[in-house]
Assembly symmetry: C2
Homo-oligomer: 219 residues x 2
């Protein structure tokens, strides 16, 4: 039986992008269904009744939810080539730790900075930069987070890079000045077609965020 793979997602989601990069890395064909989160589809509500969130991967009719869990699932099912997970248990634990760290910290901190002003805005900006510095430290002098190969943590982090322009513009800082080694890693990742063909243009992300801001401020 041929695999039937469907992805419920929204184009601008960093978490959805993880899944798209993972599927592209493994060369898996899939049916992409863009979701309207203001008007959730019956399919999304049926496939993720607990969180009602994207991304959801539907593999032969069965849903898998939560981006980092989906990426591990993809790695375990399409396991004949280029494993995402490091072979050593300690390295695997470290990769999971930093993906979990990025899940807990980046988006929440960005939201704190986004629509705030004054001291709160400055505190959010400082925290966001310090998160990326911690991630840069975790990279060290490696080519990829997975060492010589592009792996689970690389997939977990690279989607945030197409939001960097937005973070920089709202926060008035430059990632290149703050985290040059992390930015060199981003460039290396973009040499991979699975990344460069998948991630949206950073200006398009910024325009989306500007439009969202207008909607929120008019509420």
């Amino acid at each position: 039986m041929a695999d039937e793979v469907v992805l419920l997602d929204t184009w601008v989601s960093m978490f959805g992008m993880r899944v798209r990069v993972a599927l592209a890395e493994k060369g898996v064909n899939y049916d992409y269904k863009e979701q309207d989160l203001k008007n959730k589809s019956p399919l999304l509500l049926e496939m993720n009744p607990i969180h009602k969130k994207i991304p959801v991967l539907i593999h032969n009719g069965r849903p898998i939810c939560e981006s980092s869990i989906i990426v591990q699932y993809i790695d375990e099912v399409w396991n004949d080539q280029s494993p995402f997970m490091p072979s050593d248990p300690y390295d695997r634990a470290q990769a999971r730790f930093w993906v979990d760290f990025s899940d807990k910290k980046i988006y929440e901190t960005w939201k704190k900075m986004w629509l705030s002003e004054g001291e709160e805005h400055e505190a959010g900006k400082k925290e966001l930069i310090s998160i990326f510095k911690q991630l840069e430290d975790a990279l060290g002098d490696k080519i990829f987070y997975g060492g010589d190969s592009f792996g689970f943590l690389d997939i977990g982090l690279i989607p945030f890079s197409c939001w960097f322009y937005t973070f920089e513009t709202y926060g008035n800082f430059k990632m290149e000045a703050e985290c040059p080694k992390l930015m060199a890693w981003v460039k290396r990742c973009f040499q991979r077609k699975a990344v460069s063909n998948t991630l949206p243009d950073d200006k398009k992300v910024y325009d989306f965020v500007l439009a969202m801001e207008k909607i929120l401020k008019n509420k």
Copy 2:
């Protein structure tokens, strides 16, 4: 080389208990170091500089943090018997999903109910019960969440059971009446020495929470 295993933990932590149950299931000997979270030890700060939280497993000098990541690490390192993870990738994804769900929901919802009054308290109580009903549904008619064998999700959830008396007393409800199948699962888990010898008495947990409440209210 013999394994040197150290656990930094506090006795009342549901998350620390996961690691203790996992180590007991695998028959791993370890050095337990109770931590004072009001006065964090230099060892804890060195071993978990990012979150500064327990539990931390130190295996041959190297730290692993975040309870669900530690339990997976234990399963992968001491892999000669009784695997925690289901053999099928879809079942693994489901087990990870529900552990992640419990991480995000139970403790936060309990905190919302704990020190609140009136409507907020009632909303928290309702939500907490509904979380356990969702977990009961996920169990279905299986013996354990891992099917016939006690697995990753069983380890992830069983520590919450020694907090049930506290949840019930503050919320004025009975788990037995709300979730009888879940309570039958708890009893089955307690037939395992790794659980019954590890989890603290539920009245001791309640006394601890009462004492915490007094401290917080006198602040």
